[in-house]
Symmetry: C2
Subunit: 384 residues, 2 copies
């Protein structure tokens, strides 16, 4: 439950230091007075706090803002550049990476194409290239990294081992965390990509401020990620959101309706078929429209199951097919309305392809916060 430790005076100071850091991270550079007011402390006390934080390297002074009345106030800012975070999206066809500062501000992004059936080592090499690219772009080195957060398809257990991956054969049974830890001498976090995408939408996307979200990954494969009470929900064995495994939920084969539509011309490679069908449906092709209807029919069953179980505030449609949200959204709403007890909002992702990378960065930021703001840690660590 909660901790049973009482507090020392130093604990109080620590609390106030953390409050100051939080306020600075949230509101950018602040004067001492503003900071003190936000934190509910007196100015002299806050001065001591900031002095200490500056000594530790967490905070630094910036030039006062000119043009104000009265004596210019000192301003302080959180040193978000005292460390860097990397988010990686390991997809079937692309490996994306982004590098951010400690506030999650993205400073560089790269993409490495990779074949779905590429052997393991090639895939790992591509990850390294993607991250190196980010480091080069932002003129940082691997030793500046505090955390690398990775989102990947498949089910990953608590220790970072891949348990199941339908899309990427080479991934199976891999000790992904172990391999990445060899590659990067810092904290390595691994999470399912749909869950990270869900997180991204609640922090920077269409679901900002929403506490309970179901994220649907609609694309050539189906997936779901849950945010419950503002936190990513993994499940006891890190296998939450795998509703597509249930035949009755009709998710697993749903994309086939789009892939096998008669409206797709000869010679179109199979991986582009669904896109063709969706485009044709937008233009009113009756065959395509019918295929889309069947697809959404199936999609709605599994989605309704999740909505009925969780009663989320919002359902977010993401993944490759969400580019055709205009074709899908209203139909999905209609089908869900018939099945749900309380209809949630249904929206399309606003982050698109960036979803997972952004989610990985947010995940790393959150992890850092948890480390920082855990009540049971000792004195605040010195940066570097």
């Amino acid at each position: 439950m909660a901790d049973l430790r009482g507090g020392d005076l130093s604990r109080l100071r620590q609390l106030n230091s953390l409050t100051a850091i939080r306020a600075l991270r949230r509101a950018g550079p602040l004067t001492l007075s503003a900071l003190a007011e936000r934190a509910g402390l007196s100015r002299p006390s806050m001065k001591e706090v900031t002095d200490e934080l500056m000594g530790l390297g967490w905070v630094e002074e910036v030039p006062p803002s000119p043009g104000t009345m009265g004596r210019p106030a000192r301003r302080y800012r959180f040193r978000a550049d005292s460390g860097y975070l990397v988010g990686v999206d390991i997809g079937g066809h692309n490996i994306r990476a982004a590098l951010s500062d400690l506030d999650g501000e993205i400073l560089a992004e790269t993409r490495q194409p990779v074949l779905p059936d590429a052997p393991l080592e090639e895939r790992l090499a591509a990850i390294e290239r993607a991250v190196s690219g980010c480091l080069a772009l932002s003129r940082t080195t691997v030793s500046d990294l505090w955390t690398v957060a990775v989102g990947t398809i498949g089910v990953i257990d608590v220790e970072g081992r891949v348990i199941y991956s339908a899309a990427v054969p080479a991934w199976r049974d891999l000790d992904l965390a172990g391999r990445l830890r060899e590659m990067f001498p810092c904290q390595v976090l691994i999470e399912n990509d749909s869950r990270l995408a869900a997180m991204a939408e609640t922090r920077r996307g269409v679901a900002q401020g929403v506490r309970d979200v179901v994220f649907l990954h609609v694309g050539r494969r189906m997936g779901a990620g849950l945010v419950i009470d503002g936190k990513v929900h993994r499940g006891f064995g890190a296998a939450s959101g795998e509703i597509s495994m249930l035949p009755e939920a009709r998710w697993f084969d749903a994309p086939e309706h789009l892939n096998t539509c008669a409206c797709v011309p000869e010679g179109v490679p199979p991986e582009d078929a669904a896109g063709h069908t969706l485009a044709a449906a937008r233009n009113g092709d009756p065959l395509a429209v019918e295929a889309v209807e069947r697809y959404v029919d199936d999609l709605a069953v599994g989605t309704a199951a999740m909505v009925l179980v969780l009663d989320p505030q919002m359902v977010v449609l993401g993944g490759g097919f969400s580019r055709s949200a205009d074709v899908l959204l209203d139909r999905l709403r209609e089908r869900l309305e018939a099945r749900c007890m309380r209809m949630p909002e249904v929206r399309a992702s606003t982050l698109g392809d960036e979803c997972v990378v952004v989610g990985a960065i947010e995940y790393a930021v959150e992890h850092l916060d948890d480390q920082l703001f855990r009540p049971d840690r000792g004195p605040l660590p010195v940066t570097r």
Copy 2:
């Protein structure tokens, strides 16, 4: 997200007071030294804390335990009797009530039978009788009550209004919270009964210490309650767990297999038919066994949906039919195994009919804790 308030010296004291109360609630009477050690404070400091708490009426001294070496130590205990909590289970056929002290220790219980189609006022009168009975048994008065927590069938919105209730027609559209607040001059909480049952199992039943639990109410009606990350999950519109609304989940009509079994003799009232079938299956009646198999087949589909969505550590089987858990459990496990990605533990409820009442009490206790231990409250209130 989190609060941005810094702390005062008094805040520290408050923190330590709460820590002391917590420790005393958890571990019963404690000496000053023991208390200080648990809380990580020095003895003199803890002395001041307890002095203050005694002044406020939260804590009292008890006689020292004899037979110890050295000077006898003063002992303190949390005054769990400075207020009382009531939990009510409003079922179709019975209204149960229990009265507990602030630690959730149950001091009195009553039961009032009521007909499922009884008019509204009669039902409300039965609630009042059930609670009055508890008060009389424990020699307390309604003014000693701090909280009344109620569990009821149906979907109840955030304001305590009944939105949907298949089993109790008179319940529909009722402002239950309003009516109960007229009845009891204290805090009134309302929650769905399956959710309270789920909570009860995680606190005092078979799922103690488990953070993610799916509770199945199996009986003449089907229901589910979720505990996620140790907390009851209501959902945005308080409609979580309503998977039985989805035809594909095959829950809604599942009990019919048991009700309409040819093994049930003529003249058995319809509400006892399922019980007969389950008993016959236990004795090996092939018709009954077949009915049970079909029942569990259906039950497993909706259950698998919840398990795949949430990946809980445990599934608890409760409700009326769980008395026949021996007949159901292994079959359910077998069917689930085939459908789930990661198989959760599947157990029978250990609290039986008490489930909801106990859950209501636990809910009231938890609510009290939240009030007490919220970081943003002023000085600790004086009891009475």
